[in-house]
């Protein structure tokens, strides 16, 4: 009897995920039977599934924080907030995708893949077990590869997908070997088991295992050393897919990385300096690579890499600072909304990529250019946008845990980043437009403008989010 109650409770814990699974199946079935002119219904169904999942997740916020499914999955508030961010991003991406894929004969199936990819990121955010982690990584990555190649007759799209796949395959292999090492050392795959079973004194096997797992995770979040796919996907994949892949998988990846480092023995694995060095390398490399980009989409890709570098500063502070979890969650919220606004502008401008084509668009499309400016200023960290507050928290936690040098490096990188963001914005405001600026469609424009508004509003009305994030647990046992 208790067993049955337990089973029902477990299923209740993952209702949003189940809704996404069922929604994906429904969308696929619909896409198979619906004629071309009714394929839009697939998007509507997908949107419905996402919104139902969102509502269920919001309801879960009030519930108790615990692990579920035999300690392999967490329903703490950090996971739920990550879920909300992923689902909100998915809604925005659906809005961007509808007009973009209107002419594609098989675009109904696209929404299934989108739903499953966001499911993969959600599973990753809540995973507290290495097997669960691998399964979630694979769901997220595999759907991502296909999504990146969705423009079947376009070679940039295929190239982006192949690069994504190859780097993903390599880092996934490293990941599996690392997981095997850690399982061997600890005797258990749950994070609680790792925390209990990993040798306190460290040792080469532990260091290798941790390094390999972190490498695999660096692929997901787009950090050094497995970052090379980000600019290619940003440039070559269909623009709404680029928006999705540079934001959503990162959320899951960051959350699992956070849980993982909390499970490691504090000093022995040496993970804090490792993550700090990865953060430095990622933000600096991403930043410097942006400086000579002449393609706006590729620039957004490298900027996504550098933003990941800043986010890793929150990981460095985990376990030593009470502001670490709020800074991580706030950074994810700020980054996702700003990045979606930026890519949304690209989508709404019908995929305009060359830097020269952005000259003078402010006169023709003031709202869109305003959204782009807001997104870039948020990346730079100008108040009162949410990117500024995220950077404030990241700097604060870095200083607090004794990594002041990391904050200084991030500050220097922020100053450097002004160059390339202004290189897009200045001509768009100060030069004259070359010709008319056509835009895509209504839902894409709305998704972009709403993202930009979120960037401003959550930068001013900060308290409810910070309070909620400060009270969010990040459980591993």
């Amino acid at each position: 009897m208790t067993d049955q109650v337990g089973m029902v409770a477990m299923v209740g814990d993952v209702l949003p995920e189940l809704v996404l699974v069922a929604g994906g199946v429904l969308v696929l079935l619909y896409a198979l039977i619906a004629p071309l002119r009714l394929q839009l219904g697939a998007a509507v169904l997908a949107l419905g599934a996402t919104i139902v999942a969102l509502a269920l997740s919001v309801a879960m916020l009030a519930g108790p924080e615990s692990l579920t499914f035999f300690d392999t999955y967490a329903r703490d508030r950090s996971a739920i907030w990550a879920k909300l961010i992923v689902l909100a991003a998915t809604v925005a991406v659906i809005g961007l995708s509808v007009p973009w894929f209107r002419k594609d004969p098989r675009h109904g199936e696209y929404y299934t893949l989108l739903l499953y990819s966001s499911l993969g990121a959600i599973l990753l955010a809540g995973a507290t077990d290495l097997k669960e982690f691998i399964a979630a990584m694979l769901v997220s990555s595999a759907t991502g590869f296909v999504l990146a190649a969705y423009h079947r007759r376009s070679s940039p799209s295929a190239e982006a997908a192949i690069k994504y796949y190859l780097i993903g395959a390599l880092s996934n292999s490293a990941l599996l070997i690392g997981v095997a090492y850690l399982f061997g050392l600890a005797g258990s795959t749950t994070l609680a088991g790792l925390a209990a079973g990993l040798p306190e004194e460290g040792g080469p096997a532990l260091v290798v295992g941790v390094a390999l797992v972190v490498t695999g995770l660096s692929f997901k979040v787009g950090a050094v050393p497995a970052h090379a796919w980000v600019p290619d996907v940003a440039q070559g994949a269909p623009a709404p897919v680029a928006a999705f892949l540079t934001t959503v998988p990162k959320v899951g990846g960051f959350l699992f990385l956070a849980r993982f480092v909390l499970a490691l023995p504090p000093e022995a694995a040496g993970w804090q300096p490792l993550v700090a060095i990865l953060a430095t390398a990622t933000m600096t490399l991403g930043n410097l690579a942006c400086l000579w980009q002449v393609d706006v989409r590729r620039l957004l890709g490298w900027s996504a890499v550098s933003q990941t570098g800043y986010g890793l500063m929150a990981i460095v502070a985990l376990g030593s600072s009470d502001l670490a979890v709020p800074s991580l969650l706030f950074f994810l919220m700020a980054y996702v909304s700003s990045n979606l606004a930026a890519f949304g502008v690209v989508v709404e401008l019908r995929g305009r990529t060359a830097l020269a084509d952005y000259a003078g668009i402010a006169q023709e499309r003031p709202a869109l250019t305003g959204a782009l400016a807001i997104s870039f200023l948020s990346f730079i960290g100008v108040p009162p946008l949410n990117g500024f507050f995220a950077k404030l928290l990241l700097f604060a936690v870095a200083i607090q845990v004794g990594y002041g040098w990391l904050a200084i490096v991030a500050a220097v990188n922020t100053v450097i980043s002004i160059f390339y963001y202004v290189r897009v914005l200045a001509p768009s405001y100060f030069d004259r437009a070359a010709g008319p600026v056509p835009v895509l469609g209504r839902s894409a424009g709305w998704a972009t403008v709403v993202s930009a508004i979120v960037v401003i509003v959550t930068g001013i009305v900060v308290e409810p989010f910070v309070r909620a994030f400060a009270e969010s647990g990040l459980l591993i046992r």
Partner: protein, 499 residues
């Protein structure tokens, strides 16, 4: 009411941004827009005058308006006035009214221009009134963005490049400031950004590496904004290429944010560390005084000349602050005078140099160039232009009876008691400044009148009234400064611990 002074211009700016572009009746609608914008800009001025009349000179923060913005992190929306911030905020409002009313080449983009100017007014007043470090920083950074667009879109010459240099340089200065604010925040107990609370707690004792790093962060951030030599190089291009009214705001208001930060944050919250470094700071100030005036002397470009005199004048301010921040006992009166002089110099310089930049904008509109050698003999053609320029130039060099003298005499009397050598060297700056302004007046207004300027128009009624208003206050402060000095002294006295 203080919050209304901050947010009315900001909200008006947002409303402006959503207005449709003025129709085919171009100049008429633009002029009406300018009138509306000036009227809105006058509202904070009126509110601040009312606040001044209600000011009780208690020595603490008055008319405080606060609400808990982000209590989880100890961030609050807190604004208030004291003897330091009230004159600066009022000067800011006055300068904005004058600058928004001043004619400028709008290049067909009137609405964004007035929106940005009003927005910048609200933000600038907000910075001086802020009593929370986070709020202070928000206004600081936002002012950079607004000024960047003003220079880039309505500037001339190499406007975009100068705007970018301005933005990057000053933003690079704001990041050490942010890190220092965080460094200070993390050692308060309980963690708060409240300025009054931090001043009360004095959480960071001098002598540790951490304290020195935090001090360095603040110092670099404020030094770049002030600007102090050697981090002043963003100033001349930004000033020269900005439109006249924006230059006036840049010199009159934005530069004061740096010196205000020195007093309000660095000297109030880390006085021991300031006292530790007071002599090197004073030496830097004297270098700025001499360097600014000597380079200005060598200029042939009118705007660059005025820009370098700003470097020079901010040197006087920092010299006064350096003297005021020492902990020499028994010299409280001298330190109070130095601090009061520095503050009055901030106010006076804003009015004077703001006016001079507006005049240079008027010269550009009429003559098409800033090169002083192109002009000459304008005395007979342009009576009011000559008269107003003369008043402001004499005020800038410190002629008694005008505002600059009141400020500079106090700075030097105060500094003479603490650092006599520095004061003596600094006085040379005044001599050089006198020379350069007399040469400027001679080159522009005296001598033969070139053929092409036979029809050189004098100041219009709007221009003359705007500049006349500034000149009126410059003369008023010079002749009867008690109303200003009493307010500033209510802050300076308790600050130096005068019994």
């Amino acid at each position: 009411m203080l919050s209304a002074a901050i947010f009315i211009p900001i909200i008006a700016a947002i409303v402006f941004a959503f207005l449709p572009r003025p129709g085919a009746g171009g100049p008429v609608t633009e002029r009406r827009l300018q009138g509306i914008a000036t009227a809105i800009a006058a509202v904070p001025l009126i509110l601040l005058v009312v606040a001044w009349l209600n000011f009780e000179s208690t020595g603490g923060f008055e008319q405080v308006e606060a609400f808990d913005w982000i209590p989880t992190l100890g961030i609050g929306y807190r604004v208030g006035i004291d003897g330091l911030s009230l004159p600066l905020a009022a000067m800011t409002a006055l300068l904005f009214v004058v600058s928004i009313a001043f004619p400028v080449d709008l290049r067909g983009r009137a609405i964004p221009y007035f929106a940005l100017m009003l927005f910048l007014e609200g933000v600038s007043i907000g910075l001086f009134l802020a009593l929370d470090l986070f709020l202070f920083f928000v206004f600081w950074d936002v002012s950079l963005v607004a000024m960047y667009f003003l220079i880039g879109a309505w500037g001339h010459g190499d406007a975009q490049r100068s705007a970018l240099k301005f933005f990057i340089y000053t933003f690079a200065g704001s990041l050490p400031l942010l890190l220092a604010i965080l460094g200070l925040y993390l050692v308060t107990e309980p963690r708060t950004f409240d300025m009054a609370e931090i001043i009360r707690q004095q959480p960071l004792a001098s002598g540790t590496l951490y304290a020195t790093m935090v001090f360095a962060g603040f110092f670099v951030g404020f030094a770049i904004k002030t600007p102090l030599v050697p981090v002043h190089t963003w100033l001349p291009p930004a000033h020269v290429d900005a439109p006249g009214p924006a230059s006036a705001i840049l010199a009159g208001v934005l530069l004061k944010m740096g010196t205000y930060g020195f007093v309000r944050i660095l000297m109030s919250m880390m006085p021991d560390t300031w006292a530790q470094f007071a002599l090197p700071i004073g030496i830097l100030a004297v270098i700025a005084i001499l360097y600014g005036s000597l380079v200005a002397l060598a200029q042939t470009n009118l705007k660059r000349l005025i820009a370098y005199t700003s470097v020079n004048h901010m040197g006087y301010v920092v010299l006064g602050l350096a003297a005021a921040g020492t902990v020499v006992t028994g010299q409280e009166a001298a330190r109070a005078i130095a601090l009061t002089g520095a503050t009055v110099e901030m106010v006076a310089h804003g009015l004077i140099t703001g006016g001079l930049f507006l005049i240079s904008g008027a010269m550009l509109a009429r003559g098409g160039t800033y090169e002083m050698d192109e002009y000459g003999g304008l005395l007979n053609r342009t009576r009011s232009l000559t008269g107003l320029t003369a008043i402001l130039a004499f005020a800038s060099l410190g002629l008694p009876g005008l505002a600059g003298f009141v400020a500079e005499v106090q700075v030097f009397v105060g500094t003479l008691a603490i650092y006599p050598a520095l004061a003596a060297v600094g006085l040379l700056g005044i001599v050089v400044t006198a020379a350069l302004f007399l040469r400027m007046l001679q080159r522009l207004f005296l001598g033969p009148l070139p053929e092409r300027w036979l029809r050189f128009p004098d100041l219009s009624r709007v221009e003359a009234s705007a500049l006349g208003l500034l000149a009126f206050f410059v003369i008023l402060i010079g002749v009867a400064p008690a109303w200003l000095l009493d307010v500033v002294d209510s802050f300076a006295g308790p600050f130096v611990g005068r019994p």
